[in-house]
C-alpha cells in the first residue's frame, strides 16, 4: 500500500520529457529508427576517420573499377572512391535535413503563431500566403529556383529552397493549436494579470502547442533529405564536386553503369532509403509518445 503511494507520487512528479521517453522506449520500430539514425549521425561526424580515401581525389588510371581491396566499393566514372564519397555524402544529407527543419520551425512557427494570436487581417494575409506557397508545385519550383540562382548548384541555395517551400504544414498546425489554446482560462488569466504578448506567446502558448509540430518537423526532415537527393539526382542540387547521395545516384543515367555497375548506384540509394526510413520510424514513435490520446486508441 505504502509502496504504491510512492509510485504514484513519482509518476506525477516525472517531467513531460521523461513520460514521453518512457512511452517512446516501448516502441520497437522507433527505437530501431533512433539507433539507425544515431549511427548515420555518427558516420557523418566521423567521416574523415571512416573514409579510406579523399572523397574528391581523382584516380586517373582507375575509373569505374569494381569493388576491390583498395577501393571497397569500387570507383566512379571519374575515378573517385565510392565508399569515401558514400561516407561523406551523409554529411550533406544530415546538414540539409537539420537546416531545413530549423527553417520549417522558425518560419512555420512564427507565421502560424502570429496568424492565430492576432487573428483578423493578420490571419487572413498570412494564411493566404501559406495557401499560395502550399499550391506551388514543390519540386518544379525548387528546380526553377536552383536553376535561377545557381546554375552550378550550391548547398546553401538547396537548403534555402527546401526550407522556404516546406514550412506550410508547420504554420497550419501551430495556428490550429494556438487557436484552440488562445481562449483557455489559464491564458485569459495570464492576460488579466497583465502579461505581455511576448510572455503569453512564449511562456503559455508555444510550449503547449509544440507537440504535433515536433512530430511534423521530424517527418519533414525525411522529406527534406529526399528532396535534396532528388534535386542532386536531377543535376540541380549540390555542386558535383560535393559528395551527395543524390548526385552519386545520377551515375545510373548511363545505361552501362545501371546494367553492369550496380556498386555505383545501389549503395547511395540504400543510404537515402535507410536514413529516411529511420527518421520516419522516429517521427512515428514520437507521435505515439507525444499523443497519449492515440495511444489509448491502440488499446481498444
Amino acid at each position: 500500500m505504502y509502496d504504491e503511494n510512492v509510485e504514484t507520487t513519482k509518476e506525477i512528479k516525472s517531467s513531460p520529457g521523461t513520460l514521453v521517453w518512457r512511452r517512446f522506449r516501448h516502441n520497437r520500430m522507433a527505437l530501431i529508427g533512433l539507433g539507425m539514425l544515431s549511427i548515420i549521425v555518427l558516420i557523418s561526424i566521423l567521416a574523415p576517420l571512416l573514409a579510406t580515401h579523399d572523397p574528391n581525389k581523382i584516380y586517373m588510371d582507375k575509373f569505374r573499377q569494381p569493388p576491390n581491396d583498395e577501393h571497397i566499393l569500387g570507383t566512379d566514372s571519374l575515378g573517385r572512391d565510392v565508399w569515401s564519397r558514400l561516407v561523406y555524402g551523409s554529411r550533406v544529407s544530415m546538414t540539409v535535413g537539420i537546416t531545413a527543419v530549423a527553417m520549417y520551425l522558425l518560419i512555420g512557427v512564427t507565421i502560424g503563431t502570429l496568424a492565430a494570436y492576432f487573428g483578423g487581417v493578420v490571419d487572413m494575409v498570412l494564411m493566404r500566403l501559406t495557401d499560395i506557397v502550399m499550391s506551388f508545385p514543390f519540386l518544379l519550383f525548387a528546380l526553377v529556383i536552383v536553376a535561377t540562382l545557381e546554375g552550378e548548384g550550391n548547398i546553401w541555395v538547396v537548403m534555402g529552397v527546401i526550407g522556404l517551400l516546406g514550412w506550410t504544414t508547420n504554420a497550419r498546425l501551430i495556428r490550429g493549436q494556438i487557436l484552440s489554446l488562445r481562449d483557455k482560462d489559464y491564458v485569459q488569466s495570464a492576460r488579466a494579470l497583465g502579461a505581455s504578448h511576448f510572455r503569453i506567446i512564449f511562456k503559455h502558448l508555444l510550449p503547449n502547442a509544440m507537440a504535433p509540430v515536433l512530430v511534423a518537423s521530424t517527418l519533414s526532415m525525411a522529406f527534406a533529405i529526399m528532396t535534396e537527393a532528388a534535386l542532386s539526382f536531377l543535376g540541380m542540387g549540390v555542386p558535383p564536386t560535393m559528395a551527395s547521395w543524390g548526385s552519386m545516384l545520377s551515375e545510373a543515367n548511363s545505361r552501362l553503369v545501371m546494367d553492369r555497375m550496380p556498386w555505383l548506384w545501389v549503395p547511395p540509394g540504400i543510404a537515402v532509403l535507410v536514413s529516411v526510413l529511420s527518421i520516419n520510424f522516429v517521427g512515428d514513435g514520437l507521435r505515439d509518445a507525444l499523443d497519449p490520446k492515440q495511444k489509448n486508441n491502440k488499446e481498444v
Binding site: P137, G151, M258, V300
Partner: protein, 318 residues
C-alpha cells in the same frame, strides 16, 4: 454552403496570380538574357536586340508580366523558345494525355489497393499481416522515387527483360498500338503507384483506427450488428472523409513524383516537359506548366475541402 464554394473559387484567383507572379519574376532573374540559349553565336548584337524588341523582352519586367497575363487570360500562353513554331498551349495539349494516363492510373490503382489494406490493417491491428503492411508502407514512403524507378528498370527491364525501359512506344514500330503503349506504361505506373500506395495505406489505416475506437461503433457492435456491417457500413463511411481529403491533397506530391518518374523513364509527359523547360530556360513553357500544375493542385485541394463538407455535415464554415 453555396457561399462557401463561391468563396473557395474566388480564393483561387489570388493563389494563381501569386504563383504566376513568382514564377515569372524568378525565371527572369536568371543571369544572362532569355535568348542566350536560342540564338546563333554569330548573331550580331543588333540582330539580337531586334529579336528581343520583337518578342517584347526588353521592356520593364512588370510590363512584360502584365502583357503575359493579358494574353494568358485570353488562353494564349505564348510560343516556346525551344520549339520556335510551337505554341505553349499546343505543347501542353500534346503532353497532357501521357501524364494523365500515368498519374490517373497510378492514383486509381493506389486508392483501390490501399483502402482494403488499410481496413485490414486497422481491423486486425497488431496481427502479423498488419506488421508486414505497416513495415511495407514505411519502406514505400521512405524510398526515393528515382531509386525505386531505377530499381524497377534494373530488375524488370535490364535483367528479366519483361518490359521496355523507356519511352512510350517502341521506336520504329509502326504503331504497335495500344498494347505497345501499355507495355511501356507498366513500369512507370508501378513506380508511381507504389509511392502513393504506401502513403495511402498509412493514412487509411489511421483513419479506420480513429473511427473504430468511437462510441457509435461500440454501440453498433453491442446491439448485435454483424462485424461485416459494422466495418463496411458504419466505420468505412466515416473513415471515407479523411481518405477523400488525402486523395485531393495528394495532387502536388503526385506531380512531383510524375516529374521524376517521367524523367527517369523518358515518358513524354508534362513532368518531363517542365524539367526540360527548366534546363533549357524555356520560360514560356515553364510558366505554362507551372500554372497548370498549380491550378490542378488548387482544384484538388478545393474539391477535397468541398467533398469533406458535403460528407460531414458537422463541419460548418463561416
Amino acid at each position: 454552403m453555396r457561399s462557401y464554394i463561391l468563396q473557395r473559387f474566388l480564393l483561387m484567383i489570388p493563389i494563381l496570380i501569386g504563383v504566376s507572379l513568382f514564377t515569372f519574376f524568378l525565371s527572369r532573374m536568371a543571369p544572362g538574357d532569355p535568348l542566350m540559349h536560342y540564338t546563333d553565336p554569330d548573331f550580331t548584337q543588333e540582330m539580337r536586340e531586334e529579336m528581343m524588341e520583337k518578342m517584347g523582352l526588353n521592356k520593364p519586367i512588370y510590363v512584360q508580366y502584365i502583357s503575359w497575363l493579358r494574353e494568358a487570360l485570353k488562353g494564349n500562353l505564348g510560343v516556346s523558345l525551344r520549339y520556335r513554331s510551337e505554341t505553349v498551349v499546343h505543347l501542353i495539349r500534346e503532353k497532357i494525355s501521357p501524364t494523365i494516363a500515368l498519374t490517373l492510373t497510378s492514383l486509381i490503382l493506389a486508392v483501390f489497393i490501399a483502402i482494403p489494406i488499410g481496413i485490414y490493417s486497422a481491423v486486425k491491428q497488431y496481427s502479423i499481416g498488419d506488421y508486414i503492411f505497416t513495415l511495407g508502407s514505411f519502406l514505400g514512403i521512405s524510398v526515393p522515387s528515382f531509386f525505386l524507378a531505377l530499381g524497377l528498370i534494373y530488375i524488370f527491364s535490364l535483367k528479366l527483360r519483361w518490359f521496355p525501359m523507356a519511352g512510350m512506344q517502341t521506336i520504329g514500330s509502326r504503331g504497335g498500338g495500344f498494347i505497345d503503349i501499355l507495355r511501356h506504361l507498366v513500369l512507370p505506373v508501378t513506380a508511381l503507384t507504389l509511392m502513393r500506395l504506401a502513403a495511402f495505406v498509412r493514412y487509411s489505416r489511421g483513419a479506420m483506427l480513429e473511427v473504430i475506437s468511437q462510441d457509435y461503433i461500440r454501440t453498433a457492435r453491442s446491439k448485435g450488428v454483424t462485424e461485416k456491417i459494422v466495418i463496411f457500413k458504419h466505420a468505412l463511411r466515416n473513415a471515407a472523409i479523411p481518405i477523400v481529403t488525402m486523395v485531393g491533397m495528394s495532387i502536388a506530391r503526385l506531380f512531383s513524383g510524375a516529374l521524376i518518374v517521367e524523367t527517369v523513364f523518358s515518358w513524354p509527359g508534362l513532368g518531363k516537359l517542365s524539367y526540360e523547360a527548366v534546363l533549357q530556360r524555356d520560360y514560356p513553357v515553364l510558366m505554362g506548366t507551372t500554372l497548370l500544375v498549380a491550378l490542378m493542385v488548387v482544384v484538388g485541394n478545393m474539391v477535397a475541402d468541398i467533398t469533406y463538407s458535403l460528407i460531414d455535415p458537422q463541419i460548418r464554415y463561416d
